[in-house]
């Protein structure tokens, strides 16, 4: 459980999508650990990160080579996100919001997983305002 004086709400802002970089997997691994500690996690996904929650994507892990290190624990991206969202039903909560403009631009608005919310910058602002920690994962080239 979260320490008495420790963070209880963490926001992760993510712009990295599939097939780009290791960041999505690091975020999911970190989110899992935070949820295990009773910390609520809010993910605000924008730009390419909105493709991570495409329910019609082909199963893949990011990067595939990490399966050699993590083994069976290295779930495919969509399954991993689904698992974390379901874990929130009975413990610390994960809310995953995909930016509405970004899903529309990328044609994935109607392909988002059921537990994902399509939201706006207003949601990001509310997440940040309520957060104890804000982690912004840089999108770099």
């Amino acid at each position: 459980m979260a320490a008495q004086n420790g963070a209880k709400n963490v926001v992760i802002v993510l712009a990295t999508g599939s097939y780009e970089r290791e960041a999505p997997t690091t975020v999911l691994r970190l989110a899992e650990k935070l949820l295990q500690r009773g910390v609520n996690v809010n993910v605000w996904a924008f730009e390419e990160a909105v493709t991570l929650t495409n329910k019609d994507q082909i199963d893949h892990s990011e990067p595939g080579a990490l399966q050699g290190v993590l083994g069976e624990k290295h779930s495919h991206v969509s399954k991993y996100i689904d698992m974390l969202l379901r874990a929130g039903l009975h413990g610390a909560k994960l809310d995953w919001v995909s930016c509405i403009l970004c899903v529309q631009e990328r044609g994935v608005e109607k392909h988002q997983m059921n537990s994902v919310t399509i939201g706006t910058l207003g949601d990001l602002w509310k997440f940040v305002r309520a957060a104890d920690r804000v982690i912004t994962i840089p999108s770099y080239r």
Partner: protein, 108 residues
Amino acid sequence: MSRYLIVTSRDLYEYASSSYVLELAGSLKNRGHEVTLYLVENGVLAARPGAQLAARLSDLSRSGVTVLAEDVSAKARGIEQLADGVRLSNMDELADLIVDGCDKVIWY
């Protein structure tokens, strides 16, 4: 005084701005803050013994910055030993640092 957690996921050789991140870590420490520099993903590459930037990481460690390298990232990159002053860590420790080991997280 505050506690800073600087997470470095980029290869420090690849980006010119990485020098500023390392300078930031040292400067914050010099000003009396508690600083942890956490290397993950390609950030662990600089911690390979003999790497040019490894000496910089060792200097930071000697100055009091806690320098950590994530185990999965290191193993995936074939890094079995770490530069002096760099300690092997894991995702559990990173989560603990975020929850109650820092006041501010900077993710590079």
